[in-house]
Symmetry: D2
């Protein structure tokens, strides 16, 4: 299935960094969901490069919704979004010297040298703009059902953000921020460290923490289509992600059962758990508690220090000295993409469970 993800709500992605358009087709979303183009623009803004901590490539992100929306509402048929590629400098790129940590070499082997190598081609983070655009539409659908998603930079360049404490309120705040931290002081230190890495021609990574509030209990499958498995499948498409953990995650490995188990109790007549080490998922199925997971984002592989590589055309060792425009960190931008793919994965599971009218208004 490759560039398509999802069963009941699905997304298909296309485009290359230096092609004419990138785009995405979102299929299966209920008819009768209001589509707010301003909120799509706002989500795109979150993944745009900004200031000294990002690439200087200016991406206009003038998206167009070319199908599936009529009179401001989803029709129930495929929603295609296209985004023209504007400010491309193909001459910055040349084939032959694969960048360490990048897909240049693996893509060359897979596609036998027919891949569009300019600007990372189909592997470029640029493609995620289309994902964010359709994800924004899905976030709107989820919100109409009281389901909200938010991500903060839990850690970057060795600096920790404050943990989630009052998730629903904090998601609201995070969704207004471009650099998504709960503690602004931590955010300042992170940005300073990104800048100093950039000054050295180097890059940094980080950890994102995402919460989804409002998913009803009973969504997900015990085998294979576990909520964890489906979300992880989607999230590993976000470039640079190398790990994911739900709830206590790797820390759970060091706990005793008596510490890790979440005691059940009643709160206002509703079954809740007193802790949330399970991250809102047991046996692959939502418990009604917030779904919480953390994502490891590696440092951007495009750095300006000399690096050992192999000239794959001449088949000899070489040294790469990269030029061009590159992000010294992507973790703050990846956040919008993680939100987008999470929204799509969760919406897919909800429609699978409750049917294709789940999100729409009824006329």
């Amino acid at each position: 299935m490759k560039n398509t993800f999802g069963n009941c709500v699905s997304v298909t992605l296309f485009g290359e960094s230096h092609g004419k358009y990138i785009g995405a087709v979102l299929d299966g979303l209920s008819p009768g969901v209001r589509v707010d183009e301003a909120s799509v623009a706002r989500e795109l803004e979150k993944r745009r490069p900004a200031g000294r901590i990002s690439t200087t490539r200016v991406e206009a992100d003038r998206f167009e919704i070319v199908s599936g929306v009529f009179e401001g509402m989803t029709t129930g048929t495929p929603i295609a979004v296209i985004i023209p590629n504007g400010d491309t400098k193909s001459s910055d790129y040349s084939r032959g010297l694969p960048r360490p940590g990048h897909a240049d070499y693996t893509g060359f082997v897979k596609y036998h040298g027919f891949e569009d190598y300019r600007g990372g081609g189909h592997f470029s983070g640029r493609i995620t703009a289309a994902l964010v655009a359709v994800g924004a539409i899905v976030k709107g659908a989820l919100a109409s059902r009281g389901i909200i998603i938010g991500t903060h930079i839990a850690r970057c360049a060795g600096v920790d953000d404050a943990p989630f404490s009052d998730i629903s309120r904090e998601i609201g705040i995070l969704n207004e921020k471009t650099f998504a931290v709960l503690n602004e002081g931590a955010g300042e230190r992170m940005r300073a460290l990104i800048e100093s890495a950039a000054a050295e021609g180097d890059s940094v990574g980080g950890v994102l923490e995402t919460a989804v509030v409002g998913v009803p209990a009973g969504v997900g499958e015990p085998w294979f289509d576990t909520l964890e498995g489906v979300i992880a499948h989607a999230v590993f498409s976000v470039p640079a992600v190398k790990g994911i953990e739900f709830g206590a995650g790797f820390d759970a490995a060091d706990m005793r059962g008596s510490e890790c188990n979440d005691a059940l109790s009643l709160s206002g007549g509703v079954v809740v758990t007193e802790t949330n080490n399970s991250g809102g998922i047991n046996g692959g199925i939502s418990s009604g508690m917030p779904i919480v997971f953390r994502t490891a984002v590696k440092p951007t592989p495009s750095i300006f220090k000399p690096q050992k590589t192999v000239d794959i055309l001449k088949h000899e060792e070489a040294v790469l000295e990269l030029r061009g425009r590159h992000d010294p960190a992507v973790v703050h931008r990846a956040r919008a993409v993680v939100d987008a793919v999470t929204a799509i994965a969760v919406a897919d599971m909800l429609e699978e469970r409750f049917g294709t009218d789940y999100f729409g208004e009824t006329r």
Copy 2:
């Protein structure tokens, strides 16, 4: 798709802990692959409970291959394996008091109380025996192509095993062991700690590390069906898994790009990387280096200490005092299951790439 995983090579799982049979259907494996029942039995042995560190439920695991194998070779049509359930004590279980950390509550909500609650029903770790059986057949197919898989208990109850150093050789050793550690001293300490947790009516978790050696470069997809995403999707079905990381994983979040990037070089004319922080995968596609990932396994939720829960039939808070037979740790048994699902996921990607005859002999 629920209980079916995979596109070109797929597995479908069925059964409940106290039903008549559990089983799995493996479809799409090439015709002409030798099936060695002894090696299936050996893999099943690895996930069987053993000694004081496991449940005392004795599972005979008398598997039967009822289709798809003819004269010792795969036919290319579905391979069904069934395993009768023998030593079940249904009276140990009763509905109504969901165990914290288990799927009892989420399963009840999802299935409206129609689920077979005895012994965890379809959520039981018991079901993984069928997965291990068909996984063993797939491991055999992979081996015929020089692809080997092995997992060790990298950490358990706070004790670290030695790291991988000479992976191919160590996979061979691990595959002979029931308690899969590289350092036997560390293994001794782990087992002692499992036993002392058991003595307190408690349980422990751990971290598994898995390596796959021999996957050729160029397998996997840039978007959605990344190797990481597909493996993670499969691995989160293994009960108690709450996290997965590839290569440097969460540690990569704290690295600089210059540390994390794997320099490319030539070794015997082959492109290799000098480090393997990417875990053998870049841009979702295999690089030809070993695929390495780590899996977080939470402590078994079934413990014997009193726990707060909710009586979901009476809808009131309650205290659970568990009886019956339960594992004080599952990390050492989960290892065989992680191997099995990894084998299936990797074989699926290989046949997608190279076609349905990839594994078989030709007559």
Copy 3:
């Protein structure tokens, strides 16, 4: 995906004619659906060979539901049904001389000679018993929602049955019959002609007509997952089927638009069509009218007259003189299989539309 069909409700098939068991796994059916083993047995009875118009192989069809049903109700987890193979005479079969009109040659090429050739192996009509068994469970689920399915032998050996006139009532009658005709006189003539073909060592074909009553309007997709496309996909798995037409079907090709279009009107406040040339489907989506389609079933390829073939091991032309037990017609038996796959396809589309609780009772 091969031996698995369906997205939300899916079936996986396994087994060979002379293997130990054949079976099917039905996944995704709502929890809380009553399972009546007697009605499963009744459906199996419909596809059993009977009297002089069928093979003399006596198939006991002792099915066992080994998972997914608890206290007489579906649990919502996979329902596996296994059927032991009893009365097999492997010595009647030998490899090497492919039967014209059969899959012997194509299967040999596809599976490189590793296929289980005994009794048709995985291609055998025998496998449909498992499909009929799980189909019967799905028919029960549909009935709980007022959706009924029935098939009659519209034509056999050149003899026409009466057309449907009062479909709902006639479905009830057909479901009580082993040789499913609306006009018993026509049925007599058909059986006589089958017997005379059998006496000559030959075989006959026929046309089945199927109706599904009670599917609400609005189910199906405009592109690709049209109701016609999904049903056709399933029905072409029924051995010997070579054509399918919906509503007026091939006759529509000769009509004018003014004849073929179904006028819409109101009946008791409900939108209906005055004719049903569309077969209850427009634009791939159900209209609420009965879904009606006809299926062409070719004559059984296993005949006793000498036939030209090729010895695929010696690679030379040869003459085949078949022995063993074979049906002189399968159209009357195929009817139960068409019902079964139709039930599965329709249930899949209904759960996709209305969610996974569509069929179940709520506790």
Copy 4:
């Protein structure tokens, strides 16, 4: 999955008749396939309305390939084609009076009135232009492997074309024709009858016959993903198709086995069949003989005679008098669409069988 079809080679469709663009994303085609834009234009020409036998809506069909093709070759990543909608007259359409025989009513129920009703919206035959465009690319890939596809109008308005006799040569000829008949005299009579139906405000239907030559033996699956089932699934998406039959099809129902069975023999050392009543498929798997099927196309439902319908907003009976531009027949245009979806379905099965490099050149 809805608007996406295929596993290894897949297509996703989007757009509405009066939206900004229609388009398709073709994914999974091998890297290294030459893409000839002129041949895409040629295929589009075949489905364009022409002369008095078609709608007077002039569709420019200025397609753009916006991704997946680099330096004239496929890259192996998704190929997106977009086609702007130009000459639209939305004022010709109004909601409320569903056209008999159309999807207006079923679409209204499914999408709750949120569908874009202008010009048939997402149900419009217009959408097939995108399908034909990507199908043309796939036809090119197939041709590079010696696999050719052609369709003729076997019957229209009661007039029969000559049957296929020398298929490979005739496919070449048909692919040069706009009105695809083997016998030009028959074609003349068909066109005259289409025009006289048009003069009466009425429409006619027909039968298409398609042949695929060059598919190697051994492609397809015995259960569910039979070649017949997969092709039928795809073909029923072509608007107005109501039936499909392979080989002898419905005629086989009246044959004896001794007539219908295709005798096997050797021809130049290759196993062939002396007749082709099976349409090149046995047991769901290709035999190496031409794949031949016939498709029933109903008369265009948009006619200018007064028709009974129901005003679905006022919920009362009404009379529809249609205006606007409509085809008095679509069978001659549908032919290009049948070719396209057949190409995609066959390519999908070939890559599933032989891997993702099947079609490409190697650098």
